[in-house]
Symmetry: C2
Subunit: 234 residues, 2 copies
Amino acid sequence: MTGKLIGVGLGPGDPELMTLKAHRLITGAAVVAYPALENGESFARAIAAAAIPATATELIIRIPMTVARAPAQAAYDRGAADIAAQLEAGRDVLVLCEGDPFFYGSFMYLFSRLADSYETEIIPGVTSVTSCAAVAKRPLTARNEVLSIIPGPLESDDMRAKIEAAGAVAIMKVGRHIGRIRALLSDMGLAESATYVARVSLPAQQVLPLERAPDPAPYFSMILITKGQDPWLS
Amino acid sequence: MTGKLIGVGLGPGDPELMTLKAHRLITGAAVVAYPALENGESFARAIAAAAIPATATELIIRIPMTVARAPAQAAYDRGAADIAAQLEAGRDVLVLCEGDPFFYGSFMYLFSRLADSYETEIIPGVTSVTSCAAVAKRPLTARNEVLSIIPGPLESDDMRAKIEAAGAVAIMKVGRHIGRIRALLSDMGLAESATYVARVSLPAQQVLPLERAPDPAPYFSMILITKGQDPWLS
């Protein structure tokens, strides 16, 4: 019997925003795996830290921060091989994922390498999108409104078209793109009503009108936009 | 001291997909409120049932299922008044919300009536969107892909334009609109690769290729679409 690959969503950062199921699985885990920076620092591990048993084997997948994709993909190759060795030995492997495993997560690079060969399970997690709306006290969407989630690195003309086509908008991973995005939203008449949220649910969380947001912004930052009439006021 | 209005996301249906924070707050609650059908049936209450203390006061907000909006809005007026009476008496009120309170939820109708007068807190929850991706074993989005979430009742021409503008798409609340949506997706060449998920995370959960989905579908059903190349396979 080979083991099962389990992708576990941990939510946006506050360990209390982990699900009961994620918590139960982690506290009983024999093997956990997680992505980390080259120095070993891991946001996912930090969220789950208090729940990881001292006896658990930890597989650290060190991801080089390069613009080129090949070094990161080679790191996922090695990570998948390490995980496969545990699965072959009959042990389940929990992959710790910030947010939700299938929502802009690196888990999919492991999933694509292993899902054809092993049993898998995905535990969804609270995403940063609804977490940011919660702390901004801004309902995201109502009724028949379309919500579009747009990655910050998207090129400006494309981003403009996507925002024009959407109802409510969440722009993720704003980071160093904030100046360009703020100028675009100003030009579209949407900057004034936009809210900026950084490091949601963590002690360093910031919630600001977009106009007062820092430049550059941290990688884990988001801009929330609702267009026209506030949709929930009727 | 008046009490605090707390909107608590409960996740998609499986009580284990509730967050640790939601669970802690509910088990300590003096007053819980929730929307229910006119016969008193409440999906939100069912998710939280095992955690609600026997001693808690329960405020049931019975929402008439009419096409006209006025009767439902009158019900929210009465619900908000019942909640305000508890808040005025110094008691916190937890409003139980399936999914996430600010993601297509009715909580915003209470929030809009009470947030100017009382302290509020929102506890985000796991949404049905990432939950459906998890059970469909379909990564939603990667890298710089745009995800659009589209309500099923949206009229077909508008829906077509929104889908054309998007990268990945989740169509929510498919229900009785499934025939029309399936025909639209067929016409767009997207039906074959689409996945249908109903009652995600509940015992009656169904995951099917869209072509084999029932018509009508239940209200809590979703269609997931990724366009072009699978985005996670590189």
